[in-house]
Assembly symmetry: C2
Homo-oligomer: 137 residues x 2
DNA sequence: AAAACCAGTTGCATTTTGCAATTTGTTTTG
DNA sequence: CAAAACAAATTGCAAAATGCAACTGGTTTT
């Protein structure tokens, strides 16, 4: 039985990403190239394995990522972004822009984020193309 | 003593907005023209008064909104967006766009959101100007 | 003077999160 | 082949956040 607090666009997004971890996972898959549980566990912010499990299940249920067996390693799974997940790129970029302007971002450590924000729609389009290549089919 | 999980742009944004309510409040101030506690309490999603109090304090502490006495009503306070708050507009628009594309948004009820997304950067610039006029100085 | 309004506050039950240890099975190493 | 390391979780439990309803002290309206 699915239930929504409302059918407002902002709310419907918060119902998926309104927590401290979901977008961290998306960030690591999208920008750090992480594809495995163990890799995602290594985030700078130190996500706990039970939370990671919970979020991966939720993100898969919501159609934002997909999970597939790793060919050649029976107990490994590879996580991919779906198109719905890749479509989060513009949100991530705007979040980056706001954060760089208004929060104490470590600019040296996150130069790639600065570049992405400065790169505009053209760079975004390229990154999107790479993501599609890496994640979709 | 302030402490961050990391100095990544995405994380630093989540440290402020990584919950189910903060952006709902921003939405109501930004797009619904709400300025008072009682008005914000009337959100469609039914925020509880203690949560609202908590988030307004946090958002003010983070410099995203400001709180001022209402002239001519001793116990009323008026909440305004700061420039930092108004700068969230592009994030809200991208959230709206993603949600309209991928989540079960009620398009009839939220036609203004559809318009905003379709309006592009020009409309966004106008809305920004209105917000500055209404909220800053 | 009474009723309604205002911005919260309080108390308490439920839910979510955080952390460390453990589990079940699979690969790799010596 | 046996032992160690790796993989994706699961479990148990304490702490923090959330949700809900009732209440508070004061102000404005009727």
């Amino acid at each position: 039985m699915e239930k929504h607090r409302s059918f407002c666009p902002v709310n419907l997004t918060l119902e998926v990403f309104g927590d401290k971890w979901s977008l961290i996972i998306i960030r690591d898959i999208m920008f750090e190239g992480k594809r495995y549980f163990r890799e995602l566990l290594q985030s700078e912010e130190k996500i706990a394995s039970n939370i990671l499990t919970d979020r991966l299940v939720m993100l898969e249920r919501e159609g934002i990522i997909s999970k597939a067996d790793d060919p050649g390693h029976k107990q490994k799974y590879i996580y991919s972004l779906t198109e719905k997940g890749i479509d989060l790129l513009p949100i991530m970029v705007e979040i980056g822009a706001w954060s760089i302007k208004h929060r104490p971002v470590d600019l040296k450590k996150h130069k790639h984020a600065v570049d992405l924000v400065k790169g505009g729609k053209e760079l975004q389009k390229e990154i999107r193309k790479d993501l599609v290549k890496q994640h979709i089919k």
